[in-house]
């Protein structure tokens, strides 16, 4: 057990957990931020995607001990009113089926668009291919990312 000070969504949190605890479970079980989802736990599906200093990262394989002073952003902190351009585009396109993968999809898309604000469809697909959607909403996700790029 060790004590960690974490900077998440602009707030400071103090948690007492084992060093190897993945950020995903710190968020869900210890801080109560459950928007970040568990699905595979082995960096294969993207459901657990968060931002670490603005970059998309799989929180399921990110030990809390490796975070240090890095700034973490989760889906809850992407915008204060749920009005980030990617969130707005997701609503506009009505992207979700079950919705379970979508927080991770949104986080991947938001980090990608920050780096590449005017992407081609191919670039969008390359960026989003790391996130699985078991319901098969891929066409809608493509459309929503392209729309988000325009909304900015």
């Amino acid at each position: 057990m060790a004590n960690y000070n974490l900077r998440i969504n602009g707030n400071d949190y103090n948690v007492e957990v084992e060093d190897d605890t993945p950020l995903l479970w710190v968020l869900r079980d210890h801080i109560g931020l459950v928007g970040t989802k568990y699905s595979c736990g082995i960096a294969q599906c993207g459901a657990c995607t968060v931002h670490v200093n603005g970059e998309a990262a799989f929180s399921c394989t990110l030990p809390v001990s490796s975070i240090g002073s890095d700034e973490i952003t989760t889906i809850e902190g992407l915008s204060s009113e749920g009005d980030h351009p990617v969130q707005k585009a997701w609503d506009e396109v009505d992207t979700a089926q079950c919705g379970y993968c979508q927080a991770g999809q949104i986080m991947t898309a938001a980090a990608f668009l920050r780096k590449n604000p005017k992407p081609t469809m191919e670039e969008i697909e390359n960026a989003m291919n790391r996130n699985l959607c078991r319901c098969g909403t891929y066409h809608k996700i493509r459309e929503a990312v392209a729309l988000a790029a325009k909304l900015k």
Binding site: T21, W25, S39, I75, Q97, R134, C135, Y138
Partner: protein, 720 residues
């Protein structure tokens, strides 16, 4: 106004208390929730609201609360059910709140998600629920305005007296209206007057989903609850010994218990349990037959050639037809086990207190969750409440209640509220799969290429009846024999989206492609000729509607320019399942001598489309699902244990592996016939037939990428 229909007693039971507690999904994303205006919570609205029936409450503020009873797993029922109620109520959709109802067997009928059946089952009762309330609001307005009810109309949450221009909002009328007696019969709208049904109303939980609010079972936390995970045995094995010392030594683990061949680790949070579970040293020994995929391959050959099979259908004289045939075509098709793998792994919350139980979580069958728990604990079902959370996918896996009773059993043993979480590995190895099946098809053709005989034997592993004996082409062929053989195994199986037909359709539609080729007929015309025969002189019982099937075939052919462009290699497939009809064409074009899958065109007849966005999601999603599993899905067994345990080895389709999908609907105005499953079955056949057209390789087993016929084909998939 048309269709005067009787109301259903169950839907109109007076409800004592609306807010029966539980998770209220109070998100509301509309134009009017500006910071200036206070947006009432669901609780505030319900405090003064008046109940009209099991589905509907209206508050004096004019806010309409619609309860949606069936579990939402992505089929969009939580949006489309309320749309139907709101339509007949003539509600202002901006003022509609939707609440997922808890299990209530008194108020609701068929409160489950499965068989693409919710909308067909509830269509009329939802309409009546809205129409009855509307009728009462008009009656109240007539009294208040002192005019005849027949001079009043409704629109957008208001009763309108056209002559005087007077209007009253539903909120102003609701107190009086709720005191009136509901009519026995009520008029329903003419579908041509629909204003909400048929429009792309957005998913009511968009905001909650896209901002990460707690919606799913795994998101449910209760003060003081314990977490639990379970190590389950391989199929056909039982525990011989358990050494849990290392697991117990993990900090955060409070208890390790063995029950019913399971070893559970219990603690205060999830991660220590994941670690501890890996440290359990459990020795297993056989408890019956322990099977491997290798054994199944041998078994299939034996059963296909065996003397005994259950005859599911017999028309005419099959032996004579095959003896007199000018040509006989025989082919075998095989599919592997598949995991359902919803993105949210199985989980459930249970709190057993004496003879009372609280259950919360993602289930497709809340009633079964309750009944199985009642049986396990030996208490009456009425003592158990079930709160239905949003489901992170289901695909049939959540029709079972194994994860519910596990949670309840642990809660009782630990005397504490328990949240049971299955890891992804547990979800994939913990059973209830799409069964593995092998089919042998035979067709007898006469001199002119007419199919005069048709034989099918299906052999499956815990598949039950692996055929659909009264489905096409039965009814269109004079001499038919359909048989099924089921092998009982310790490997548990379960309905998997479009049960049986998820594979049978591919096998049959590929085989019919082979037969059309042998008969030297165009695959579309070949099917149309068979259907013409089924219409003119049907043989035996037909489960499908010939005209609806012809309708989607013709539409798919037209929309895909079937056979018009020699550079496009097309594969055709059509299937009827769960009351609806879907025909699909897959288009492959050659680029640098390599096949490129560019598009799948789908023509669907599901009756009235309630929500076009939701419908497109189901059609596209079904096609992506069907294609993904046909191409990549494979779960194999070694000594009773799946070899694939997570998404690194169990391959799911990804964004860059899906082609463009064109979606079309037959507009025939019939009541909705369901769409959660029907788009999936035809896809494998359309893709396989297009691959054959392009490469001459016939794919008779899934997954395609593991077949030797496919090994040197570099199929690319591109979107426009």
């Amino acid at each position: 106004m048309a269709n005067l229909t009787k109301t259903n007693r169950r839907d109109f039971l007076k409800i004592a208390a609306t807010a029966s507690g539980g998770l209220f999904i109070g998100f509301y994303w509309s134009g009017c929730d500006s910071p200036k205006m206070k947006v009432l919570t669901n609780e505030e609205i319900l405090l003064n609201a008046h109940n009209f029936n099991s589905y509907l409450s209206i508050s004096p503020t004019g806010d309409v609360v619609i309860y949606s009873p069936n579990p939402e797993l992505g089929q969009n029922i939580l949006t489309s059910f309320p749309m139907v109620v709101a339509e007949e109520l003539d509600a202002d959709w901006q003022k509609v709140r939707v609440i997922q109802a808890n299990l209530d067997v008194e108020k609701y009928d068929r409160q489950l998600t499965g068989g693409s059946g919710a909308m067909p089952h509830s269509w009329e009762r939802l309409r009546k629920a809205g129409a009855t309330a509307r009728h009462l609001l008009i009656a109240a307005a007539a009294t208040k305005m002192n005019v005849d009810a027949s001079t009043l109309s409704t629109s957008n949450g208001e009763v309108i007296h056209k002559e005087s221009g007077k209007k009253m909002g539903y909120g102003e009328l609701v107190t009086d209206a709720s005191k009136l007696t509901a009519p026995e019969e009520v008029a329903l709208k003419d579908p041509k007057d629909f204003k909400i049904i048929g429009t792309p109303v957005k998913n009511v939980e968009n905001k909650a989903m896209f901002t990460g609010q707690p919606l799913y079972g795994l998101d449910f936390y209760r003060e003081g609850m314990l977490h639990a995970m379970i190590q389950r045995p391989p199929f056909g094995m039982k525990i011989k010994s358990v050494d849990d010392a290392a697991a117990r030594a993990i900090s955060g683990v409070t208890e390790v218990v063995t029950f019913k061949n399971n070893v559970a680790v219990v603690g205060k949070s999830t991660w220590p349990l994941m670690k501890a579970k890996k440290l359990l040293k459990i020795e297993y020994e056989p408890d019956g037959v322990v099977e491997s995929t290798f054994d199944h391959d041998r078994l299939f050959a034996e059963l296909l050639n065996g003397k005994t099979a259950e005859v599911k259908r017999k028309d005419g004289d099959v032996d004579a037809a095959f003896k007199n045939a000018a040509q006989v075509i025989t082919s075998e098709y095989q599919c592997p086990f598949l995991s359902h793998s919803p993105m949210e792994p199985q989980n459930f919350f249970a709190h057993v207190q004496g003879d009372k139980v609280e259950l919360v979580g993602p289930t497709q069958t809340p009633d079964r969750a309750r009944n199985d728990t009642a049986q396990l604990l030996g208490i009456p079902p009425e003592n158990i409440t079930v709160q239905i959370t949003r489901l992170g996918g289901g695909f049939g896996r959540r029709l079972r209640a194994d994860f519910v009773t596990e949670a309840a059993e642990l809660s009782k043993m630990m005397n504490a509220p328990i949240k049971l979480t299955w890891s992804r590995e547990d979800d994939m190895t913990g059973g209830a799969y799409r069964p593995a099946v092998r089919y042998r098809f035979q067709a007898a053709l006469d001199e002119s290429g007419n199919m005069i005989g048709y034989k099918l034997r299906g052999v499956g592993i815990n598949a039950g009846n692996s055929t659909r004996e009264n489905n096409f082409p039965s009814g269109a062929v004079e001499n038919v024999l359909i048989e099924s053989v089921d092998h009982k195994s310790a490997i548990t199986t379960n309905a998997w989206r479009a049960p049986i037909t998820n594979f049978l359709a591919y096998a049959e539609q590929s085989f019919l492609d082979e037969v059309a080729l042998a008969a030297k007929k165009d695959p579309v015309q070949f099917r149309l000729d068979l259907l013409a025969k089924a219409k003119a002189s049907p043989v035996g019982e037909l489960q499908y509607d010939v005209d609806r099937m012809i309708g989607v075939i013709k539409m798919a052919a037209e929309k895909s320019n079937w056979g018009k462009d020699a550079n496009v290699m097309q594969g055709f497939s059509v299937y009827f399942s769960h009351r609806s009809y879907v025909a699909q064409v897959a288009n492959i074009e050659m680029e640098n001598n390599q096949p490129v899958l560019k598009k799948i065109v789908a023509a669907t007849d599901c009756g009235i489309v309630v929500n076009p966005t939701g419908a497109n999601h189901q059609v596209r999603g079904g096609i992506v699902d069907g294609m993904g599993h046909a191409m990549y899905g494979n779960l194999t067994f070694e000594n009773g244990l799946p070899k694939q345990k997570n998404f690194d080895t169990y391959r799911l389709i990804r964004m860059k592996e899906v082609p463009e999908i064109d979606v079309h609907y037959v507009q025939n105005g019939i009541d909705p016939t369901g769409l959660g499953e029907p788009a999936l079955p035809p896809t494998g056949g359309a893709v396989a037939n297009a691959i054959f057209k392009a490469t001459g390789r016939r794919l008779r087993s899934q997954p395609f990428i593991e077949q030797k016929e496919f090994s040197d084909i570099k199929l690319q998939i591109k979107r426009a």
